[in-house]
């Protein structure tokens, strides 16, 4: 039978540690449910409303005008009344305000009646989209009005057409976030498409056919039938269920990364749970020894303390859920700018249940070893206050193994990727293991060190007082800080390379879709020397006769081989290129090449790595419907990672010069002059799109910074776990610290001496943690910057110093805050208690 009063008195007797334990459990629940809630909210809005996200039941995509057989199949279904279709064209073009003479690259969406079949395009006026978007009218983003200083009623020149702004779009169901776009949205009625005169050969237009299927049971079958009529791989049929979207991919990747951070914090919170429970049980050791001496069995004691853990775990769970709900209120601010407009943030019951189950398992696993330890406590403890070392039997090894297996399983389940899950766990173990190893080395050094300064010496000695969780604190704080600081260092280095130190000689404006016959006119408008790159669009069908698996490729987190590539032709290396493999770009002539059965191609090393392509491999491309066999003759590499045009596949000029192509140009130009040229191009060559690279990079940097701060926000929870262990450790060693402080005072030390000893002790912990975190994060960031991004690495010493200083302030502040009552103890009070004891 359980003695509830005993349980509650034990909790009350160790209330400080109990509070820390509750906070650690709450922290793990907070992480699990808030991230789980956020993920499920985003996924729900993306998946549950997948019809809205795609605007249709079936979507057919192509970068070329749809093939006749496909169009015939669609029209047949339409005539039979099985489906209703709407053609959508998406492309970029310059829009120019005739009144203000300003122009901007815009994201055009030309839609037929019926779009969207699901969801609703919301307008500022509140009117119905279909009633507003008529021939001659356009609906635009507020950003466009701001940038062009335009108002409703103004006329914009888009291509060859003059169209009037009639309304402002506030929500687009199939574009929940807008930061992927190079320009603001303009909706145009399909009736005006011809007038634009922007659909030219080689233009980068996305053709979409949206289909609403009247009988939803037919969706999959119709999609299958339509797929049979497509030209592969350029035409792609997807249902709302299996359709992929860039936004969805982005959020999947982002949530994936946040989940990694969540797992990391959960591990550290688990260490906090274990440390605080060890401390709490240590405070009950005397009671346990007395209970054992009067005949209480281990079973009886473990059951009571297990019940105590459960009570505290439940309290922590509820606190975690409450904090998690409160945190959801902050999410819109935290995620502002990248949160899909249609997402409603709420924690579902599923997430709560999941959190409860996982939280219980985490508490159970991390409580096992401390509870196991009390079994080892002998009744003789009441005479000699010593306890045997923590048991290292099969049970404890099993507990450790269970913890590892649980986290491996959890990570794989959360990340839905066995390989990455295992890599993550290995990485995490390596990080914690390396931190533990260095921390151990540091502690060995500190133990052997005998500084001349008395205060410093006492502080060093204090680190090793029984019950001090010095090692756990250093490991937790430094691992958490290393992750946070690494993210910061990588972000700052990327920013320094691509934004702040944007090289003055690099192009800052890109011009896309220049038709071959417009090159001279374009050059005249530009008026300065520019680089010109012919662009031929193609897809890769196979590598060494092995077809490119489109579905598998699209699953990849980074770039993939299934997308459309821009091929180019030239005979020389670019300024920032050098040969990685092969003597020359196109190798030596052999029979195969001489017979023109196969053409030579030079491949950039990055894509070679993605597709596992080597020199000598056979690639088959599809260029404008025609197959092109190419033999890899060389692999190029870039000497610097800068914002400079580069091409994955380079061919010989004579082979591609007759293929349908556009010209891409890049130039370094003054921002003010760019605006003038932009206007002139909008007026005379409206099909040419202008991308202001500097401002685009700035926008991307803004998003990067935002994402980085979100990840840092969640990682900072792991710092909280570390600080909770600091407090727990201080509480756990409260009596020892009081005794030390009292002895110091009796022997003649004043208050300031004792404060200094405790401060130095915390400073040593903070400094060691920060130094360790700095070391790990610099090594890690250096590897990422040099090996992954191939950019120069700046160690950012001033930021490192700020990080160290911040850590010192936080740890010393928390440490001294928790020690106030200890410092205020008068010697006589302790001595009197000791006498009574």
């Amino acid at each position: 039978m359980l003695h509830f009063r005993f349980i509650f008195r034990q909790i009350n007797g160790s209330r400080n540690q109990a509070i820390i334990f509750i906070f650690c459990v709450a922290l793990s629940l907070l992480i699990l449910t808030s991230l789980g809630g956020f993920s499920s909210s985003v996924r729900r809005s993306m998946l549950q409303d997948a019809r809205q996200l795609h605007g249709a039941d079936i979507t057919v995509h192509s970068h070329y005008p749809f093939s006749e057989p496909l169009l015939k199949a669609i029209h047949d279904y339409e005539q039979q009344g099985i489906v209703q279709g709407a053609l959508v064209h998406k492309f970029y073009s310059m829009a120019r305000n005739s009144r203000t003479e300003k122009s901007i690259l815009s994201d055009l969406k030309v839609v037929e009646k019926g779009y969207p079949f699901y969801g609703r395009v919301t307008l500022l006026s509140g009117r119905e989209f279909s009633e507003v978007l008529k021939e001659g009218a356009i609906i635009v983003d507020q950003v466009l009005l701001d940038r062009l200083q335009a108002v409703i009623g103004d006329t914009l020149q888009i291509g060859s057409a003059l169209l009037t702004i009639v309304d402002v779009v506030t929500l687009e169901p199939d574009r929940p976030v807008s930061f992927f776009s190079f320009g603001p949205r303009i909706f145009i009625a399909a009736e005006d498409l011809e007038k634009l005169e922007l659909i030219k050969k080689g233009s980068r237009i996305q053709f979409s056919y949206l289909l609403q299927v009247h009988d939803s049971a037919l969706v999959d079958r119709l999609a299958e039938e339509l797929s049979a009529s497509t030209v592969k791989p350029q035409e792609n049929v997807k249902t709302f269920r299996n359709a992929d979207s860039r936004i969805k991919r982005f959020f999947e990747n982002f949530l994936f990364f946040l989940n990694l951070v969540g797992m990391f914090t959960l591990v550290l919170a688990g260490i906090g749970i274990q440390t605080s429970l060890y401390a709490m049980l240590r405070e009950s050791e005397y009671t346990i020894a007395v209970m054992k001496s009067v005949g209480a069995t281990n079973r009886f004691i473990v059951i009571h303390f297990l019940a105590m853990v459960m009570v505290l775990g439940t309290a922590g769970t509820f606190l975690g859920l409450i904090l998690s709900s409160l945190l959801q209120l902050y999410f819109p601010t935290l995620f502002a700018g990248i949160l899909p407009a249609n997402v409603t943030l709420a924690i579902s019951w599923n997430v709560v249940f999941e959190g409860l189950v996982l939280g219980t398992i985490v508490v159970g696993l991390f409580s096992f070893l401390p509870l196991q330890r009390i079994r080892n406590l002998k009744p003789s403890f009441i005479f000699r206050k010593e306890i045997g070392k923590a048991p290292r039997g099969i049970l404890s090894y099993s507990a450790v193994l269970l913890i590892v297996l649980f986290f491996v399983g959890l990570v794989i389940w959360q990340l839905e990727d066995v390989k990455i899950g295992l890599y993550f766990m290995l990485g995490l173990c390596a990080l914690i293991g390396m931190t533990a190893l260095i921390a151990q080395g540091l502690m060995f050094f500190m133990k052997k060190t005998t500084p001349r300064s008395l205060i410093l010496r006492q502080a060093f000695r204090g680190l090793f007082r029984p019950g001090n969780a010095t090692r756990a604190i250093i490991i937790t704080l430094s691992a958490a800080l290393a992750v946070i600081f690494s993210i910061y260092l990588i972000e700052q280095n990327l920013r320094a390379t691509f934004i702040e130190a944007y090289p003055p000689n690099l192009p800052n404006a890109y011009f896309l879709d220049i038709q071959s016959d417009q090159k001279k006119e374009f050059a005249d408008i530009l008026g300065i020397e520019a680089e010109y790159f012919p662009v031929v669009r193609a897809r890769l069908l196979s590598i060494n006769n092995k077809p490119v698996n489109r579905d598998q490729e699209r699953e990849k987190k980074g770039d993939n081989m299934a997308r459309e590539f821009n091929l180019t032709y030239r005979d020389v290396l670019l300024k920032d290129e050098q040969m990685a493999e092969g003597d020359t770009l196109f190798g030596h002539m052999n029979n195969e090449l001489a017979n023109k059965e196969v053409v030579p191609v030079s491949v950039l090393d990055t894509v070679a790595e993605i597709g596992d392509i080597n020199v000598g491999d056979l690639l088959v491309f599809k260029v404008q419907g025609l197959p092109l066999k190419a033999r890899v003759t060389s692999i190029r590499t870039r000497t610097e990672s800068k914002v400079r045009p580069f091409f994955y596949f380079v061919f010989q000029e004579e082979l591609l010069k007759d293929a349908p192509q556009t010209i891409f140009s890049s130039v370094r130009i003054d921002r003010a002059q760019l605006a003038v040229i932009q206007n002139r191009l909008a007026a005379t060559l409206p099909n040419v799109s202008v991308i202001d690279i500097a401002s685009t990079v700035e926008i991307l940097a803004g998003i990067m910074c935002k994402m980085s701060s979100i990840i840092q926000f969640f990682t900072s929870f792991s710092i909280v776990a570390g600080l909770l262990i600091v407090i727990s450790s201080i509480f756990a060693t409260r009596m020892t610290r009081i005794r030390e402080a009292v002895y110091f005072k009796i022997l003649g030390a004043n208050y300031s001496f004792v404060v200094k000893v405790f401060t130095y002790e915390n400073l040593i912990i903070a400094f060691s943690s920060a130094l360790l975190a700095g070391l790990i994060s610099h090594v890690g960031s250096w590897i990422v910057c040099r090996q992954v991004f191939s950019i120069a690495y700046q160690p950012l010493l001033s930021s490192t110093l700020v990080m160290i200083a911040g850590m010192l302030v936080i740890v010393v502040g928390v440490g001294l805050g928790a020690s106030v009552s200890i410092l205020q103890q008068k010697p006589i009070n302790y001595l009197r208690d000791e006498r009574q004891d």
């Binding site: 000695r461 090793f464 005794r739 002895y743 022997l747 003649g748 004043n750 001496f753």
Partner: protein
């Protein structure tokens, strides 16, 4: 009064437990001559330890004054008392009260180092030799026996050559053999250093070795005289 002696006048001290007031010392006055060995004798709960803690400045009296080696310590703040204690007083406790995280040697040098004494190490080694514990100098308190701990505590009490030593039941936690050794050592060293020793005990045997004895009963000095001039 001698410059290195002690004078306490009408000391009173009481504690509150819940709403109950417990008078521990009631109007106690005494004077101790410099260089003498005084025993405060009494049964458990008679107020011996409280009297020693007041006399040594570890606690404040509710009423009365204390003059220790020429300094009125009654109203000194904790931070004023600390350096005074360090230079003037040595303590030996029943429970040894060695700092667990410091070695025997470090425990001894600690008060001297606080006093910025450059000879701290040399003095500690000499004291360790004197108490025959040189071999145990690098041991931590938990690695020492009770008798060894108390010898280290005596060394620590003496390292700053204090003018007065307060010893609260120094043999209380030791067996009779060790207790005898400790007492002999304490008295020997006191004689050598010409230090005043105020020792609380309930042992009549120890009292017999004292220059004078103050008997406490229920917080009062037993003989009717309120001021005992020793």
């Amino acid at each position: 009064m001698s410059i290195n002696g002690l004078e306490a006048v009408q000391l009173s001290k009481s504690y509150h437990v819940d709403s109950r007031q417990i008078v521990v010392l009631d109007n106690v006055s005494m004077t101790v001559q410099g260089g003498s060995f005084v025993v405060v004798e009494g049964k458990s709960g008679s107020g011996k330890s409280t009297l020693l803690s007041l006399l040594s400045g570890l606690d404040r009296p509710d009423a009365g004054t204390i003059n220790l080696v020429g300094t009125d310590i009654t109203d000194l703040s904790e931070d004023e008392l600390a350096p005074f204690r360090n230079r003037t007083i040595g303590y030996v406790f029943q429970s040894f009260h060695l700092v667990p995280s410091l070695t025997a040697f470090e425990n001894i040098t600690f008060p001297a180092e606080l006093n910025r004494d450059r000879q701290a190490a040399a003095k500690a080694k000499e004291l360790l030799r004197r108490v025959d514990l040189t071999k145990r100098m690098n041991n931590f308190p938990h690695q020492l026996s009770g008798g060894e701990k108390q010898r280290i505590a005596i060394c620590r009490a003496l390292i700053n050559s204090p003018q007065i030593i307060f010893a609260d039941e120094p043999t209380g936690n030791l067996d009779s053999v060790n207790g005898e050794i400790i007492m002999q050592l304490l008295l020997e060293l006191r004689r050598e250093l010409k230090t005043t020793l105020v020792l609380a005990t309930h042992s009549r045997e120890i009292s017999s070795k004292a220059d004078s004895v103050v008997r406490l009963v229920d917080g009062r000095i037993e003989n009717s005289s309120e001021k005992v001039n020793l």
